[in-house]
Symmetry: D2
Subunit: 485 residues, 4 copies
């Protein structure tokens, strides 16, 4: 097979910055060092050679009212590669009553056209003996150790507190990791109804119906339940100080909790919903909604201090057409925006170029941290001999203006339209295949493979030991009752 060598670059990992060439064979890194030779040379002069990005939060070809979100595994992963992302993790969503394995089959089918590697989180959208049993199969036979729970979307995906506890406890037994979409679904439903009743039916009311408080509350609740069940917890799309505060407070007590801000929440704010153009506002409808600048500052500080761990996108690309389903009733606007293609350039521009993040921290939050959490490190998220050659050759001087008209993603707009970014891929490699070549897209449909991930991470084991050590013990009693008897 043809070998490739990335020449003259500076390798940047979560740990290290150093000059070296990288040799790639059979999709894997086989040498790192000076003066390497290969059949094909990729010139990285002036560039950083980094682990390809991992976006752990996407919804590709997501079902919606008989149709689907517009980016499927093909266009979605192509968009990702264009922006330096070489792996996505999507959510397999069972319908109420559906077996987890059946849902998984549907996701297996969709993902066959993927241009880069991918994995799945399994959603637990209802509770029962079958789910209890399926979790074991999913973990032990299907290479999935992460299970998502929706605390919102009442009447659809939402599960309540005893279901959460039951599922979390099951995961604790089997070494899985719990994930939550944290918003109080009951309160969101009540607020939505009240807003609609008051004639507040535009997209801005979507934001009003899901204030930071309802996210903070649900995050806090999920943390408590995870603590009681003894399972590590990953909170998806942490958008605000309220939620971040709950996470910080938990971590401060030694709890095993991670938070995931989205690139949208880091760089856009709630004023988008006040745009007089309905379409402009509706296109930005997602849950949680964009927040104000103070919440943004909180998220950035979380990335700096380590109280937040991962930057994702929640990429779920509904078209303007689909968005217009909610004209006159904001609750009918499908929730979701894009971002897969722009996450890394936007984060570099606003994070590294400003000095908020070091280049190593950039790698950590876009790739390495999540690879470790999800237990696919160092196959992914690393520049190490033996690791998959999922690499991005990052040109810090390359710039562009983000425009829907030139993007890979198949939606008809871009929430970052008009934003300047500086810092873009010169090359993106997915298991050795050069999918982005100096501005040219050379994807291979179906190249992507499923990434299997084992349970019982070191964090699971440590937490279980501690919980066992501190478990409640019965008091020894000689006679019951004893007093005066």
């Amino acid at each position: 097979m043809v070998t490739k060598v990335i020449k003259n670059g500076t390798i940047v990992t979560a740990d290290l910055t150093y000059k070296a060439d990288v040799l790639v064979e059979n999709g894997v890194i086989t040498q790192i060092g000076p003066n390497l030779k290969g059949d094909e040379e990729l010139d990285a002069t002036g560039c950083y050679v980094m682990p390809g990005g991992i976006d752990p939060h996407t919804h590709l070809e997501m079902p919606f009212m008989g149709t689907y979100s517009s980016d499927d595994f093909e266009s979605g992963t192509r968009a990702g590669l264009a922006g330096g992302t070489t792996m996505v993790v999507d959510f397999a969503l069972p319908s109420p009553g559906e077996s987890l394995l059946d849902a998984l089959k549907r996701w297996d089918n969709k993902s066959t056209r993927a241009n880069c590697d991918y994995s799945f989180h399994m959603a637990v959208t209802w509770w029962g003996e079958q789910v209890f049993d399926d979790i074991k199969t999913v973990i032990q036979e299907r290479g999935i150790n992460t299970f998502k729970h929706f605390m919102a979307y009442k009447g659809a995906l939402m599960v309540n507190d005893d279901e959460l506890y039951s599922s979390f406890q099951r995961l604790a037994e089997l070494g899985g990791i719990a994930m939550v979409h944290a918003e109080n679904g009951d309160v969101v439903a009540e607020l939505s109804a009240k807003l609609l009743a008051a004639g507040n039916n535009g997209p801005e009311a979507h934001a009003y119906s899901r204030p930071p408080q309802v996210e903070g509350e649900a995050t806090n609740r999920a943390i408590m339940i995870a603590d009681m069940a003894g399972v590590p917890l990953y909170v998806v799309h942490t958008s605000c100080e309220d939620s971040h505060e709950a996470i910080r407070r938990a971590r401060m007590q030694g709890k095993r909790v991670w938070g995931e801000p989205l690139i949208q929440h880091l760089t856009l704010d709630e004023s988008e919903y006040f745009n007089p153009d309905w379409d402009h506002a509706a296109r930005r409808v997602m849950s949680p909604p964009f927040r104000n600048k103070q919440h943004q500052d909180s998220l950035w500080a979380g990335l700096q201090s380590g109280s937040l761990s991962v930057v994702a996108t929640d990429h779920c690309a509904f078209t303007t057409e689909q968005k217009r389903n909610g004209i006159g009733d904001f609750t009918q606007i499908p929730n979701g925006t894009g971002g897969l293609e722009d996450r890394m350039p936007m984060l570099w521009t606003h994070g590294v170029a400003t000095g908020r993040l070091t280049p190593n921290e950039f790698v950590a939050v876009t790739s390495t941290n999540i690879a470790k959490i999800l237990n696919c490190y160092p196959k992914k998220g690393a520049v190490l001999v033996g690791a998959d050659a999922d690499l991005v050759v990052w040109d810090p001087e390359k710039s562009k203006t983000i425009q829907a008209s030139t993007q890979q993603s198949s939606i008809d707009y871009n929430v970052f339209e008009g934003h300047e970014v500086k810092g873009l891929p010169r090359f993106t490699l997915t298991r050795g295949h050069v999918a982005v070549h100096d501005g040219e897209i050379r994807c291979q449909e179906g190249h992507g493979k499923f990434v299997s991930r084992e349970a019982n991470t070191t964090v699971n084991k440590a937490l279980s030991s501690w919980k066992e050590l501190t478990a409640p013990r019965p008091v020894e009693r000689s006679g019951i009752p004893a007093t005066g008897v």
Copy 2:
């Protein structure tokens, strides 16, 4: 009618400390000043003349499995008076489906034998149109502005989040105040089942099943829901730092939230449950359970700083016989302990004598603060002309050892058994009647009257103004959708 004058004492209120006599006529204070004369003289030399205590959290003659908690309105209020408490507020608890007014009728009946004045909080234990309507009647016609919600006791009293929101919103409209028993009932039920399954069936498992985390979580949740609904919130029996932290955080944001530690949580700790004597432990079973010393420190600091407002008892006196219902299954131990008689001496001894609280702060947290919150100030909680002569003449040098054998309360034990207290009533007056006279109990059964309390306190009004001012407003849009249309 006979006039009484309290001579030579030092008046201590939440505000002031000064020498003056107090003249009482027809149950009301009619003069405060030097050298007053009356038909009957009560010598307060060396004593503090303070507003009688108000215990806003009692369960007298509380129904339990076809029987009742042992202190009824007669013995309970007698115990209160013996300890300097001149008013109690009990909870009217509707059965599922029962009208609030029917429940209230049952409580009206029980309270006819009360030795001192009393009022009621109304519990909302289910939700429906009748409850929605009844709340208005209760507020506008029955003189009750406080409504209790149980977030625990799943399958019995517990209401869920949308019921909470609906009730809170109703209260916001009508100017009421929301109260919560804050523990996550779903999680308590799960933990209880797990403990029992593991053979953890003793009274200590009661504490294990309701750790501080589940109380903190529920408190945090209630605060968010109250904030969304725009209603002031009173959190009963705040027992731990977790819950206190949620209250402090809310107050820090300007939210209108109050917390109520109990005298038991301030002075006793979880080691009581590890006593090898089953009865000893079971007698101390209440919800929330006793906590460790760090939680105690948190509660004291809350009283000092004002983040906690009121000291109560949750007096609910189950006998040893009744407690033994839970032998072999801690979930069947009736929840409740005594305290009405001991609250004020215990708080004085551990609070004022140590320097943690000033005498004025003692009055504030045992009487004045709650009178203001409940909107019966200055009829109660004050030493002012025109106020009810609910007074305690407090002798800071009088001491005793607490003993069940000599108490007024009709339970057969005392959770403070053996504790030394210094600071006790020389006289207690309930609307002018001297119910405690230098160690002698001279109660009048049926003397107590219902205290009516109006809605729309100044806090309600201020909060409503602010919520109106900051309510979500729709964005003006010229065409919907507008883009490219």
Copy 3:
């Protein structure tokens, strides 16, 4: 003597809201009740009758480079009365090496023309045996129990940490209360020099040189030192979240600490310094400087929750002429703004009318709280029989636009110029004299008297008891050293 009666008003105190007339004789309230009669009637229909405001932080006729700040005790107290303030507390500032008593004499001389009552805080601007001795005299013979310490103004008023500790410990012994101007003077000096060196010499650089961090740090430090010395602490002009956070954290631990936001910091923000008009910016130069909106929100929430206690002004009125001393060098702009006349209308407008504060809380933070802290309650800060008739009859419907051209204060500008206020005095009474009569100023120069304040408040006593109880005790040892000896 002529008696006056305030008729038909609603009395509003820190505690209570009720309809009653108020009878005033010889400068004192002699009756409160319905249908009172007096020689002169003041019609309070539609008005609130409240305790007159107390501004505990003024610098009248403050020495500055051979001249003085423009408002002296005459014009300053006249401005105060015009706005409903009936007492001011000024700071007696010894020069380095000067005896406290000599400084006090200078302040006694200045205050003879005061139109309303006043008191003094004593500043400790250096340390030595004479100061050690003088503190006792000042407390025990001169009716002053509050001592101010400057942690900034290096080379002038500033004292360092061991001086702070020595002074605080002395105050703890004698029952005094410590006060601090909390900014890190060393760091302010360094930052100022650096800014000037970089050509940053405009008034905005004043704000740059004193960021919230340096205030937060000093507040935190003062709290620690006060805790070690065992003295209650009052932090003047708390302007920001950083400082407020330190206060909240201290209170959360039960420490006896109070914070005082200024009306300027509650309603104006740092953008004032970015005004292209040098004079506009320079007139707003004070220390600490104005902050951003987030800091404002923090201060308001502090008033709501009780973590901040008092609203003051730090009134120190330098004219535009005096301000221009700092052209080309911001460190030479005299520090100080006005506010005495506007504090109460501005706070009512932005606090009560919005629903952030109840009318009772308004009274608490403008008058009653500080009267209690300073130990002159209920002579001041109360509407009670026997209290001084320092009263304001507040018309919530009266409005005006603040304008320097019509103000009582003698400065030539007003930092609130152009702000609309709604809520103004109809009458202001200073010890019974009607100094403001329906828009007309009827002050009596020299009417004001010194208010003497005793040491050893209840808070001092409680804190001392607690510190004694928890003081370090030596370990009993049988032989020293003992091991193997």
Copy 4:
């Protein structure tokens, strides 16, 4: 040269856990992989192969009253190797007025006998032009980028706030890192004098004189000054929640601050000082002193969450004889305890075996984190090809009881005497030399070399960019003053 291969072990790094052999040549790791061969084989069956520990906080042969602390670079590094530590960083301490370079020369001389590699932090114990100049030389020519500042030890090592600021600003310019010993030296001096005056002269008074509050305060102050100067800050020996809270709060705001708990503070508590044996207590005198269990919990949680980064020892071994210098006056007890030999076994036993830390986190906090912070990663702190072969082969089943009688350290006692540890080195390699061989010590005196460390880490660069981006800018003004002129 002889090659060595570590066979059959499991490599554990801060990142990874995997089976592989390690080949060592010329003191460097040259291969990692399966089935490696070398001249000499070290059997790691059942063991973890980890980066050798780095103790960044030692005082070997520390001057004290004409004599020295008993462990010098020979015995100290031998003790370190015995416990798995392969690098120490000591503090070069200039006398007042002494040039930094002269002090460094003295430390160079002492370190010639070191058994393992070492580096130095430079202390800034006074301020002046020479120090200003020397810092540049030390950074640019002597391979030291970390500068320690003492906020305590008044009259000796202590520097005040403007000296701190000046030094920090100098470090910011040159890309250095600031370190602080954070205790308020003024207050410690005052408290010490007060305790002695009260007859509190035993070793327990050492703890009383340095309560958590004085450490928390100084930490908070150092953080503010570092923030103003724009320099990263490393807080040595973080012993308590107060200090940890300040660090967490700073990190929460995105500040670049690290905290270093000591193994002593993690595992021992203040009750040691209450031992009736004077020697027992005095041997444990160090600054900060041991704290209570709540502080311990805080430190452990900090390691779990990442708010604390490094576990060190502050090893400074004074003999019982030297300790007795302080009989009758605790301030004369030399400050310092041992720990170099026990740090890793104690942390493994109490951290990893309990489940508080994962094995990877153990490596991070004992080695990798500090190597990154100090800028000697991956030469140190890594198991990577090209890294120094500073390795420990850790046997998790090997146990012992800690005893002074069998230790390498030359002090005559051990603060962990009698503690059981499980988890000990089978082999320790220092740059390839097997210094510990299955229980046998085979050190080579003088084998250790100085580790040079460059300035301008990625964190320095990022922080400087951000500070530049957000630096104060002058306001453009057209005329000064402009108003009405």
